[in-house]
């Protein structure tokens, strides 16, 4: 088990190195930070001094090595735009995005899985047909449109929920949470639903397809032939067998939710990393973009590791070492 985790971490290292290289390459090829930071009026001395202070006059490899070394220590330099340490900015913004992503994932799994099971079991009922039609809408409508529609209905027309921001937050150490206040929770609803909608419909359709597949298998027929109760067959035997693909997709989707919360955060002016990223792109704030890229890569790598570990927990056939083969 430990060996497996270590080998997975070793496999992740090259991935992170490549992402680091790409992030770093942005410094050299995307925009000219010096020009942006200096503005219109500057002297040659000022320019030289800034280039030296940013370390841009050193050779590529020295700069890259320095970048890696700093990144390992969580140090991504100063934001060109805000002139504050990038690590600090990200630390400020990350809780908002992570809470949003977590709630979106919760919404999509807690609604998507039961809907998938239901539509798989009763595929001809009118409710299943309704769910399927509804899921088609969820899959095909772009996120920003769903967000705007939700704002229109629940904020503008009904006035139940706030249309932007996080509401009141509570500071726990460096983590600012919106989960502990009423206005924070209310502010979470619309963005979570917007962000989770695509995932919800995807998971529902996936669970449905897998359920239909599993219900046709011999071991389900045999479970019926053994006279087991429907509940045990549907949830104990069938649903558990659909979990491996569902975990894979849900895991990748969670990474996607975190990485691509950008649109939702923009629509709801959610003070998270996605909004920070968009603002940074607008002003070619490369240190922030580089750090964001690295962070997202780390999130994906970590989620993949967790997904692999979950496979182990669910499917005994994947557990190596413990298996003694009979004859």
């Amino acid at each position: 088990m430990l060996a497996f985790i270590i080998s997975r971490i070793l496999q992740a290292l090259p991935v992170m190195a490549v992402v680091a290289l790409i992030s770093f390459a942005m410094f050299a090829y995307v925009g000219d930070p010096v020009a942006i930071m200096l503005g219109q009026d500057f002297t040659e001395q000022q320019r030289q001094a800034l280039v030296a202070s940013l370390g841009l006059d050193q050779p590529f490899f020295v700069q890259f090595a320095k970048f890696i070394w700093n990144a390992l220590q969580g140090e991504f330099g100063l934001s060109y735009r805000l002139s504050r340490p990038v690590a600090e900015l990200i630390q400020e913004r990350a809780p908002a995005t992570l809470e949003l992503a977590f709630c979106a994932a919760l919404v999509s799994l807690s609604i998507g899985v039961p809907m998938g099971v239901y539509t798989g079991l009763y595929r001809n009922s009118w409710l299943s047909r309704f769910f399927l039609t509804f899921s088609l809408i969820g899959v095909s409508l772009p996120t920003f449109l769903i967000g705007i529609l939700l704002i229109l209905v629940f904020s503008v027309w009904l006035g139940w929920l706030p249309s932007f921001g996080r509401g009141d937050t509570v500071q726990i150490g460096w983590w600012s949470t919106g989960l502990l206040t009423v206005s924070g929770l209310k502010a979470l609803v619309l963005p979570s639903v917007t962000l989770g909608m695509f995932q919800l419909t995807l998971i529902m359709r996936l669970v449905r397809a897998e359920m239909l597949e599993v219900l046709r298998t011999d071991y389900i027929k045999f479970a019926r032939a053994r006279g087991l109760a429907n509940r045990a067959i549907n949830f104990g035997h069938a649903l558990k067998n659909t979990l491996v693909p569902v975990i894979t997709v849900a895991g990748l989707q969670l990474g996607g939710i975190i990485a691509f919360a950008i649109v939702t955060e923009t629509v709801f002016q959610w003070p998270g990393m996605g909004l920070l990223f968009i603002q940074s792109v607008n002003s070619a704030d490369i240190p922030v973009m580089a750090a964001y890229l690295m962070l997202i890569a780390l999130v994906f790598v970590t989620i993949n590791l967790v997904v692999d570990l979950l496979y182990y927990a669910v499917d005994p056939r994947l557990r190596v070492g413990g298996a003694k083969r009979g004859h």
């Binding site: 071991y219 045999f222 032939a225 053994r226 006279g227 067998n241 005994p316 298996a323 004859h327």
Partner: protein, 333 residues
Amino acid sequence: MAPLLEVRDLRVEFPTRRGVLTALDGVSFSIMPGEVLGVVGESGAGKSMTGAAIIGLLEPPGRIAGGQILLNGERIDNLRYDQMRRIRGREIGAIFQDPLTTLNPLYTVGDQLVETIQTHLGLDGAEARRRAVGWLEMVGIPAAAQRIDSYPHEFSGGMRQRVVIALALCAEPKLIVADEPTTALDVSIQAQVIALLKGLARDKGTSMMLVTHDMGVIAEAADRVAVMYAGRIAEIGPVREVVKHPKHPYSAGLMASIPPLDRRVEHLAQIDGAMPRLSAIPRGCAFNPRCPEVFARCLVERPALLATGATEAACWLYDPASEKHAPEAMPHG
């Protein structure tokens, strides 16, 4: 003695877009307590479907359109799903063809046994587990007390079929429907599994409906045999009689196509033609296009099972009213 299972004039239909297909038509037979009835026939003859109808698990859209199935004299073909669920496993056990796909891969064999035992017998966990170990020992799993916590993939095919047999028997049903229980196994394992099934059925007094296309298995394990053709029973009787003196021309052809072990033959006998599709079953006797003995009446009227000596055959040759009669002995080999 009253029969344990009685199937009367069973008819199974499949509604399709192009009309209703009749998969089983007028199938009648009975199984006595402790008796093993073999059911043979080509693929698609309706053997497995008969078994599925008895355990109430016909694949939709298939449905029982006529006839009755009685267990201990009580009808079970018209029970609601939940009533039938209590009979499945408890009164009628089932064994499927492929042991590699019959067990749920995510649960240990012990979990699956305990679950079945608890569902039907209402025992507490410890007692159910004790019995589960006992069943694994009974079906010949070595070191059962340790292997009970193994997953299906940790067993070989033959061992898995033993586990399946334990699962089918663990709630002590009175009837086992075994659908091709040895077809997916290595030839060397087949005999062991058949011997095990036969031995357990005898010890527990369990009746068995043994569906197979392997005449060797029938000869080995069955007391009586039903030969099925195109969704109907062609002949039914004691195994020895049907094997040695088949009455129906189809059974005769089937027996003739078994290669003899004691002499060399140049060509294996075969029955010309193929079994008709369900949508194209001919009028009269379903076997008439392939029958070497066919005569006018076979093309018009459908024969019912007629007693002829020790067996019953659905063939006009055995009706005294027919203008043509059976030759002294059926051509055999």
